[in-house]
């Protein structure tokens, strides 16, 4: 397996939105989910998740609520808002187009 890839700028937001599309989660769970589901291919500094979460919350793409965790601790649980869901659709489209473009060049037989 190759070295995990650095994250492209701006894709973290899309990943968070995608994660929350599966249901409300707290920060740690989001980090876990991204690591697991990218099969460890993406390397993120877990802390950088939080500024992104706060930014998304400020833009009202996600909203937060304090709840009790499985371990009876108070945790902030994030959920996708309607605006966030719409944004995810847009970002996904953009990513598809971007990946397609990159692939067309890189996968061209030389």
């Amino acid at each position: 397996m190759a070295e995990p890839t650095e994250l492209l700028h701006g894709t973290l937001d899309a990943l968070i939105l995608k994660t929350l599309a599966w249901g409300p989660r707290h920060g740690y769970a989001i980090a876990q989910w991204i690591e697991t589901n990218s099969a460890d291919a993406l390397r993120i500094e877990q802390g950088s998740l939080y500024p992104a979460l706060y930014r998304l919350e400020r833009k009202r793409l996600i909203e937060a609520e304090w709840a009790l965790s499985e371990t009876k601790r108070q945790v902030k649980v994030y959920r996708l808002t309607k605006a966030g869901r719409a944004r995810l659709a847009v970002e996904t489209k953009q990513w598809e187009r971007f990946a397609e473009g990159v692939a067309r060049i890189l996968l061209e037989p030389t």
Partner: protein, 892 residues
């Protein structure tokens, strides 16, 4: 943990909101802990796990800071949007409230519209006249400089004196002189009299305004003897006569038969010294007579110099000149005043300030009335407020809602008021623009609108706070107190004292305003009925200017020397008097109320060797023999002039009563020889009645009349008395003048009454405005009084019913209620009278022959207000007395 269980904890978790700081800290701590646990679960030692978790997480401090930053911004945005959301709710609620009580809303809005509309209109006047800067560069540094007569009266400046001032003054950076001209512009047989100015070449530079097109005069063109046939046009004249054609430069104008070359056009709006259409070089000369004072002088203060310094320096220069030329300058002084005063006299300024103060009072009264209406409502809404407080609305929230209601009201009032002002302003402009300087430029500009906006905001907050204050009195806000209000069916402390004081204030203000209006109105009536001393009905006046010959040779070329001028006026008045329907015709050097005046010193009687300083000043007029008859000025003693009074017969004069009284107290002036400041001596042959020629509202000064046969004058006003259509007489005047000399232009042909009316435009305007205020004040006072008193009575309906049910006589109940209203009103009347009495001094500026403490006015207004109060409290009291006690008791 207490045994409340999951439910309580979950509830707490839902409601609980930590600070941003706490929020970030908790979230990051939790993450790190979970990460550590996870790693320990994979077999790491606690120490290792801790380090590895930190490595995997990144820089905790930096990430924490970043999150806090974003989080705080998020909080602020949320608060702001919540605030706006609440505000919108308040506005919606306020509008719903107003819709729910349309009668209250319309009265309140109308009251505010009256107050704000009036204050905006008057501010518009003040803005146009007082506040807008003069259209010159750095106008505050401009001054007028004039000479003063030995008697201390402001006078014009002679040409040699001006030139000496120019040479000697160090503390002015620029100085210029000018004097009015009225040349006739002839253009293919079409003659037009222009308002022109002869100015020095420094005039435009002193004002700091350059031409829009071409150039202005050079120093060479402004030199006596130089061929100074050049002219600068105003923007208006350029548009009017030349259609704004730039090819006008270099064109030749025929002014009084002389060709002038157009060299420049001034920018639009440049108008100095007022209504000027054309400027030509003045070319002042050293060799002109030093005692012949005709110039007006302006100067610009040198950097760092003050007006006082310039005044002192000029006084010094005048003293030097008096020593050098004692014959012409002995006893003469100087005066330096701001240029702005030439436009707006201190008197007009005082009048406008008095108006502003009056209108501010009116607005305060409108506020007081709306506040008391709102207060009355606030009491009935106590129950609603108590419910809201019980449901958790904070006091701040409730106060804010009341203020928002006030603002909504005042904005609606302001919209109506500004609309009213927009309608009123053209009316005011039309009424006064001709006579009141700068009023023609009055518009609803941004400054006036800004003022209206501020007035509206202040108003809204002020009377919105009144009911809030009332709430403050009944602060309770604690649930128990609120519940008390609810249980008692809405009754609690009813803010009686506050409301009573509002009634008293409102009445006092009304008293003050109405007394002012009464006094001003009374003096206006006097002003209209004032004995002018001459009759202006059925008289047509027309200004005639004969082109003056400077040298005897000129008279051949259609220009007039003294003898020809005298012959011209003798002939034209003879022909006019002979025309059918004409009763009398004359001519005078300055028509009444035309704004023209001439005066001179004379040696009073009973003195033999008086120095020029002791001379008294008298106005003088050159007249033709028919003048007194044309204006019906009564001859008291002696004789009038005849055609025989012409050079070389001995000089004679006729004087008015005042001059006879002032000059020869107790003596008989007839036959006396009077020495004039000019050196001529003449004998008094007659005394006529006083006539007010300059101002309706000031007593006539000493006046002397000279026969035109001995003092030929080129510029005269014809005065023709004839019943019937003034237009026909005007045509007759034009025809007769043209028949004598087709090249002489006739200007300002109008009924003499027009001149008289114009000169009363300013007092008329003030009175109109004050009368409008007075009516508004009366209406407002009535509404306010009626509203609050009738409300109080309805509040007491229950109590009154109990009393009636228990057998109290209805008359007694009515008397009781009536007494309360009248007592409050009487208190207001007393306070208002005291205020009016105290402010009487300020009123003096706008009163005419009326004492500011006129007892009749005070008494009349007091009775009026008491009657209104009796009606306002009596009617609802009667209604209460007629109500079936049972119904009143059952209601609420």
């Amino acid at each position: 943990m207490p045994p409340l269980g999951r439910f309580a904890r979950e509830l707490r978790a839902r409601v609980w909101r930590p600070s941003v700081d706490e929020e970030v800290r908790r979230e990051l701590d939790y993450h790190l802990e979970m990460l550590e646990q996870d790693l320990r679960g994979r077999g790491m030692t606690p120490e290792h796990a801790r380090l590895a978790a930190r490595a995997k997480f990144g820089d905790v401090a930096r990430i924490g800071d970043e999150c806090r930053d974003i989080g705080e911004r998020r909080e602020r945005e949320m608060q702001r949007s919540e605030w706006f959301e609440d505000g919108r709710q308040d506005v919606r609620y306020a509008v719903r409230q107003l819709r729910g009580s349309p009668r209250f809303a319309s009265v309140a809005i109308l009251t505010l519209a009256v107050g704000l509309g009036a204050v905006t209109t008057i501010f518009g006047i003040a803005n146009a006249i007082l506040l807008r800067p003069l259209p010159f560069s750095d106008p505050d540094r401009l001054v007028t400089m004039s000479e003063t007569t030995p008697a201390g009266r402001e006078f014009a400046v002679s040409e040699p004196n001006y030139l000496d001032w120019r040479l000697r003054l160090r503390r002015v950076s620029a100085i210029a002189a000018f004097s009015g001209r009225s040349p006739t512009l002839r253009d293919e047989g079409d003659a037009e009299r222009l308002v022109a100015v002869g100015g020095t070449h420094t005039l435009f530079g002193t004002l700091g305004v350059g031409p829009a097109l071409g150039r202005v005069f050079t120093a060479e063109e402004d030199t006596p003897g130089g061929d100074a046939r050049v002219a600068v046009l105003s923007h208006d004249l350029w548009q009017r006569r030349f259609g704004g054609d730039t090819a006008v430069l270099g064109k030749s104008l025929d002014l009084d038969g002389l060709h002038h070359q157009v060299i420049g056009v001034m920018p639009p709006g440049f108008d100095f010294p007022g209504r000027a259409e054309l400027w030509v070089p003045l070319a002042p000369s050293e060799r002109y007579h030093r005692g012949d004072r005709r110039l007006q002088v302006i100067g610009r203060l040198a950097p760092g110099a003050t007006r006082q310094q310039v005044a002192a320096e000029l006084t010094g220069v005048a003293r030097e000149l008096a020593q050098e030329h004692p014959a012409d300058n002995g006893g003469w002084g100087t005066r330096v005043a701001p240029l702005a005063e030439a436009y707006v006299t201190p008197q007009l300024r005082r009048r406008i300030v008095a108006l502003l103060a009056t209108v501010a009072l009116l607005l305060v009264m409108a506020c007081v009335n709306v506040a008391s209406l709102l207060l009355a409502r606030a009491s009935t809404r106590e129950r609603e407020m108590a419910v809201r407080a019980a449901l958790g609305a904070g006091r701040g929230r409730i106060v804010r809602q009341l203020v928002v209601e006030g603002l909504v009201l005042s904005i609606l009032g302001a919209v109506a008021g500004v609309a009213a002002a927009a309608v009123a302003m053209p009316m005011v402009r039309g009424l006064g623009a001709a006579e009141i300087p700068r009023l023609d430029e009055m518009t609803l500009d941004w400054r006036v609108l800004g003022f209206a906006l501020i007035a509206c905001a202040v108003t809204g907050v002020v009377f919105g706070l009144a009911p809030a204050l009332h709430l403050g009195v009944t602060r309770h806000a604690k649930a128990s107190r609120a519940l008390g209000v609810l249980r008692s069916g809405g009754r609690s402390i009813d803010g009686g004292r506050l409301r009573s004081s509002l009634i008293v204030t409102s009445v006092a203000l009304a008293m003050l305003l109405l007394v002012c209006a009464g006094l001003v109105g009374g003096s206006f009536m006097k002003l209209m009925r004032v004995e002018l001393g001459f009759s202006h009905e059925n008289v047509v006046a027309a200004s005639v200017v004969l082109p003056v010959a400077r040298a005897p040779a000129d008279s051949a070329a259609g220009r007039y020397g003294p003898a020809q001028a005298a012959a011209f006026y003798t002939e034209v008045t003879r022909r006019l008097a002979a025309a059918p329907n004409v009763q009398a015709a004359g001519a005078v050097s300055a028509a009444p109320f035309s704004g023209d005046n001439t005066s001179m010193g004379f040696e009073p009687g009973g003195r033999t060797s008086s120095r020029p300083e002791d001379y008294l000043n008298a106005n003088w007029r050159v007249i033709t023999p028919g003048y007194f008859a044309s204006l019906r000025i009564t001859l008291l003693r002696g004789r009038t002039f005849t055609d025989a009074d012409r050079a070389p017969t001995p000089d004679v004069m006729i004087i008015n009563e005042t001059m006879a009284r002032v000059g020869w107290p107790g003596g008989d002036p007839l036959g006396r020889r009077v020495k004039l400041a000019s050196g001529r001596t003449m004998s008094v042959v007659g005394v006529v009645r006083d006539a007010r020629y300059l101002f309706v509202d000031s007593l006539p000064g000493p006046t002397m009349y000279f026969p035109h046969g001995q003092f030929p004058w080129a510029t005269m006003w014809l005065t023709v008395r004839a019943p019937g259509d003034p237009a026909a007489i005007a045509d007759l005047v034009r025809r007769e003048v043209a028949a004598l000399d087709a090249n002489v232009a006739v200007a300002r042909v109008q009924p003499l009454s027009q001149l008289v009316t114009d000169s009363t435009a300013e007092p008329r305007l003030i009175v109109l405005v004050v009368t409008i205020f007075a009516s508004a004040a009366l209406v407002l006072a009535t509404i306010g009084l009626y509203g609050t008193v009738s409300y109080t009575v309805s509040r007491r309906a229950r109590e009154l019913s109990v009393r009636l049910a228990l057998g109290a006589p209805p008359a007694g109940v009515v008397r009781d209620v009536l007494g309360q209203g009248v007592r409050l009103t009487a208190l207001g009347v007393v306070l208002g009278s005291m205020a009016a009495y105290a402010s009487a001094g300020a009123l003096r500026a706008i009163l005419f022959e009326t004492s500011p403490t006129d007892a009749t006015t005070f008494a009349g207004i007091a009775v009026l207000l008491l009657v209104v109060a009796a009606a306002a409290s009596g009617l609802p009291a009667l209604r209460a007395a007629k109500t079936d006690p049972l119904i009143a008791l059952r209601s609420d």
